[in-house]
């Protein structure tokens, strides 16, 4: 309280001084009057009164010091002085603030994303102790429902375990049908997470009594608001999901969006309803790895203990179910990022990006430190005078540091404003309209803390680097000689180092972004195994409109017929899950005649697809040997399959595959009738994967992707297709899109990575230019006189250039080489995220060198012209 008051008094010092003066004056007058009354002479009376106070100035200072926080007052004066200094060189101030703002904004944005995706716990009411339980081998994230039940019953380290998976279905509310994304969850899901409903109730474990026993659904707040107009009487109403009536029993609060950070579902349904909604039963199939397990570790149990416990259960299960659970093991991973599949690359990439952002800020600090050092050197005479008239070294240093921190705080504020604008944009960004995906990355306390820390830290960093030079300033020396050549030479070396560091960092960043850009460009042109150009897709699921089995097949055939009749269509076919789509299913494959059907005895686990005749042509997948499927490969003829080159090679080596057989289970034997080219099936970065294609008629699949090839523009075909399909079944929810557009989803991570790295590279390039420019300009301006003398003595332009700009250019060359080397090493990290990212690419290496050379040229152009235009006569006259 008292301190606040005393700080407040700082701002009313004139008033305070006045008051103290009149108080003391009154005292002196009273004393004088009394002295007079005692018979002193007027002069003596006044002198006696004054003497009692001692030195009046010191006295007043002491009284004021009691009233105001004087230590702060001197800082206030320094602050005032700092601002005046900064105002006096607006160009420097502005450059510094902008540089810092960009550096800090880059850090804040990357950190916010890192914070939202990795550091912050899952956004549920009780996030403590939650882990996803995935299979031991990397990349196998899902478990079977039966295994989930066993894990849940037999462990003793988890307080509870829930299962969930997300998928989409057709939702109809009487008047309209559309695609809804939802979670299928076990009954204890909401209770385990500690969620409370906004309206109605959630379902619980005691609602489940075997398959299809709980026909309920819980709506998300957004779904309830947008599709049901916040109907307060929604609880108890019936809504059809894939044509199966479910009763709405509750609405989740707006803040609750399930157990994945970036996924915002429309509704939740009990997992026991799965057979009815989905039309296939994974609940009773131990080999169907389709659910995510989320476990809550008991308090006091470590992650390692929990893992050991789960592995003990897994060993029991492997013994009990030698075929399905062979060699089973378990692992805990942080929840919310879909296990390894999405989590691993995200974590690696964000950490790498954070490092790069930090390097950008470091480069910015090195840049500012060298400018700051140069400024301090220019102010040598001023500093020396201040020292001579009694200022302490410490005081001057404090004042310089204050100047640096003022700058960095201003830069930090601008950076924070810039980044919160960017973050608000990111939070509202829905990169893939087909998926309910977005990430809330709004800054929180830790983000603001980081911004403040970075600001002050960078201020201290670039403020302290020139400090040594201030410390060495002696009053006599500088006044005597001004700035001597020798001094400059020595000072330049410390600045040389800074510039060198900066160039190394910038080259590193430029290399990284070029590597990523090149990788991106290559992945766009990588052989996909199909040709997406001129293809339009219609995505649907027969179950969404309640079709199944033969009935679905009939509808699919009619869809194909309809598509082929559209004018301009050259080919049409159907595949269940298109490659590089939402994720293909796979199955274990055995040699013909195998007797051991344990999963570990399988030859491979190829991706599997169901296609109709015409698909290969429509998709542009080349047939290498054998024949395409025909409409005669139906339920009454022998079961056949097409396989890709990798499949054929793995199973049969160099022998002919066409005509051979393979098995997917005890009684499921297929004859290979054709071999197709390799392709990409799950991700662009995958190595060559085996794949097999079955005849749609021999295995009914409800997922339907109608693939239509046409030379007509995609929007034209899309509207014709939609019209045609509407006539077939108006209740079938349908997404129609061109294939290249649809692939955006697959390319999304690579695009984001490239974009982020591109921005970092751009910032780095900018910093390199300002750094070299600042250094070159300074070195030329400091040596004007020397250069002038050289010109007067007959130096040629080339000699002049060498002496004026040799040092910055040499630095640029060395720095670039070291940076390039580091960049090549660092790019190995990048290769994990960006497909085909390799620095051993002449285009990349050349690109980096050319970029740095251009930057150097750009940055030294103006100083060089300045040096060449030196007029020795006028220069010498000036002195």
């Amino acid at each position: 309280m008292s301190l606040v008051h005393r700080i407040g008094n700082l701002f009313r010092r004139p008033h305070l001084d006045n008051e103290i003066d009149s108080e003391i004056r009154a005292h002196i007058e009273m004393r004088t009057a009394d002295n007079l009354a005692q018979g002193m002479s007027p002069e003596e009376a006044r002198r006696d009164a004054l003497v009692r106070f001692g030195n009046p100035v010191v006295m007043r200072e002491r009284v004021t010091a009691e009233d105001a926080a004087m230590a702060l007052d001197s800082i206030r004066r320094d602050l005032h002085y700092s601002f005046r200094q900064l105002r006096r060189s607006p160009a420097f101030t502005l450059t510094a603030i902008v540089t810092l703002a960009i550096g800090i904004a880059a850090n804040v944005v990357v950190f916010s994303v890192l914070n939202a995706l990795i550091l912050r716990p899952l956004d549920v009411p009780k996030p403590a102790g939650l882990y996803n339980i995935v299979q031991g081998p990397h990349g196998f994230d899902n478990q079977s429902y039966l295994d989930y039940l066993d894990y849940r019953q037999r462990n003793n380290t988890f307080s509870d375990m829930a299962a969930y998976r997300f998928l989409y279905a057709g939702l109809s509310t009487g008047s309209a049908a559309y695609k809804a994304w939802f979670y299928e969850v076990s009954g204890n899901y909401f209770d385990m997470l500690g969620a409370e409903p906004l309206l109605g109730r959630f379902f619980h474990t005691n609602d489940e009594h075997g398959p299809n026993s709980a026909p309920y659904m819980v709506l998300s707040e957004k779904m309830w608001r947008t599709r049901f107009h916040s109907d307060p009487a929604i609880v108890g109403k019936t809504v059809d999901l894939n044509k199966h009536p479910l009763t709405v029993i509750g609405v989740a609060p707006a803040s609750f969006h399930g157990t994945d950070i970036f996924f915002w579902p429309d509704l939740w349904v009990p997992m026991v309803d799965e057979p009815e909604i989905e039309g296939w039963d994974m609940l009773g199939k131990r080999t169907a790895h389709a659910v995510w397990i989320l476990g809550k570790v008991k308090p006091g149990v470590s992650a390692q203990q929990a893992t050991d416990n789960l592995n003990a259960v897994a060993a029991q299960l492997a013994k009990q179910y030698p075929t399905a659970d062979d060699k089973m093991s378990a692992r805990l991973v942080q929840p919310g990022l879909m296990g390894d599949q999405f989590g691993d690359p995200t974590r690696a990439f964000l950490l790498a990006l954070m490092l790069l952002a930090f390097l950008v800020l470091l480069a910015a600090c090195a840049n500012l430190a060298s400018i700051f050092g140069a400024r301090a050197a220019d102010r040598g005479r001023e500093l020396a005078i201040r020292l001579a008239i009694g200022s302490s070294h410490w005081h001057i240093l404090r004042q310089l540091l204050l100047e640096a921190i003022c700058l960095s705080i201003l830069g930090g504020i601008c950076g924070l404003l810039l980044s919160s604008w960017l973050l608000r944009f990111l939070s509202n960004w829905n990169p893939m309209p087909e998926f309910p995906v977005h990430v809330i990355v709004l800054p929180d306390v830790s983000v603001y803390g980081l911004a403040l820390l970075l600001s002050i830290g960078s201020g201290l960093l670039f403020g302290l680097l020139p400090a040594r030079q201030v410390w060495q300033t002696s009053e006599a020396q500088v006044i005597k000689t001004g700035t001597t050549g020798k001094l400059i030479f020595r000072r330049l070396t410390s600045r040389d180092l800074l510039l060198g560091v900066q160039i190394v960092l910038c080259t590193l960043l430029v290399t990284a972004s070029l590597v990523a850009l090149r990788g991106m460009q290559r992945s766009l042109h990588a052989p996909l195994g199909f040709d997406p150009q001129n293809v339009t897709l219609a995505l649907t699921d027969m179950h969404m409109a309640g079709h199944s089995g033969k009935e679905a097949l009939v509808l699919q055939k009619r869809m194909l017929d309809g598509a082929e009749q559209l004018s301009g269509v050259t080919a049409a076919g159907i595949i269940d899950d298109r490659p590089l789509g939402a994720g293909a299913s796979s199955d274990y494959v055995y040699r013909q005649g195998a007797t051991d059907f344990r999963t570990s005895a399988s030859v491979m686990v190829p991706d599997m697809f169901s296609i109709t005749p015409g698909y290969l042509e429509a998709a542009g997948t080349r047939l290498i040997a054998g024949r395409d499927l025909t409409w005669h490969d139906d339920a009454h003829s022998p079961e056949v399959a097409l396989v890709n080159e990798t499949f054929a090679h793995r199973m049969f080596g160099n022998a002919l595959a066409v005509g051979q057989y393979f098995m997917t289970g005890k009684s499921e034997s297929y004859q290979i009738v054709g071999v197709v080219q390799n392709g990409k099936y799950d991700s662009l970065t995958e190595d060559a994967q085996p794949a097999m294609f079955f005849a749609q008629e021999q295995r009914d699949a409800s997922d339907t992707t109608l693939v239509v090839r046409s030379q007509l523009p995609s929007p034209v075909i899309a509207s014709e297709l939609s019209h045609m399909l509407d006539k077939l079944d108006p209740n079938l929810p349908m997404t129609i899109q061109s294939w290249p557009n649809e692939l955006d989803f697959v390319l999304f991570p690579a695009r984001v990575a490239t974009g982020a790295l591109g921005v970092m590279g751009l910032i780095a390039a900018m910093l390199a230019v300002t750094g070299v420019f600042g250094m070159a300009t300074y070195s030329v301006s400091k040596r004007m006189k020397e250069l002038g003398v050289r010109v007067a003595l007959g130096a040629r332009p080339a000699q002049l250039m060498r002496s004026a700009l040799g040092r910055p250019l040499l630095l640029l060359l060395c720095g670039s080489c070291i940076g390039l080397l580091l960049g090549v090493i660092a790019s190995k990290l990048l290769a994990q995220i960006v497909y085909e990212a390799t620095p051993r690419d002449p285009l990349v290496l050349g690109g980096v060198l050319i970029t740095m050379a251009l930057l150097g040229l750009l940055a030294t152009w103006f100083p060089a012209r300045h040096a060449l235009r030196i007029d020795p006569a006028s220069l010498l006259r000036e002195e």
């Binding site: 009149s22 108080e23 009154a26 005292h27 007058e29 009692r52 002491r62 009284v63 010091a65």
Partner: protein, 108 residues
């Protein structure tokens, strides 16, 4: 009371003065201490004013500008509730101190 001013005794004198007189300006305080101590204690103005201002910031005393009997404007100080408690504390401390010193001097 010069440099070897007994710790805290200036505060005690000022607070006691204000508790005896109710309300007084700086000069009046100096005058009162001198007279009440039988001319034994002489408070220096150079120490008094910093002390007054410190005590005011500490909330022990409050001040107001008023007119003296001779119609001069002066800053009058008075005890606050906190100051009253402080005075009690300071008196007790001082008694203890004097007792201790006396016992020390009589020790044989």
């Amino acid at each position: 009371m010069a440099k070897n001013d007994l710790q805290g005794s200036l505060d005690l004198l000022v607070l006691k003065t204000l508790s005896q007189l109710g309300e007084q300006h700086g000069y009046g305080i100096v005058f009162h201490i001198q007279r009440a101590s039988g001319e034994l204690l002489n408070v220096e103005e150079g120490s008094l004013y910093p002390a007054l201002h410190r005590m005011e910031q500490g909330g022990w005393i409050s001040s107001a500008w008023k007119l003296t009997e001779t119609n001069r404007k002066a800053k009058y100080y008075r005890l606050t509730a906190v100051g009253r408690r402080q005075l009690q504390q300071a008196e007790e401390n001082f008694e203890q101190f004097v007792k201790g010193v006396r016992a020390m001097l009589r020790y044989a």
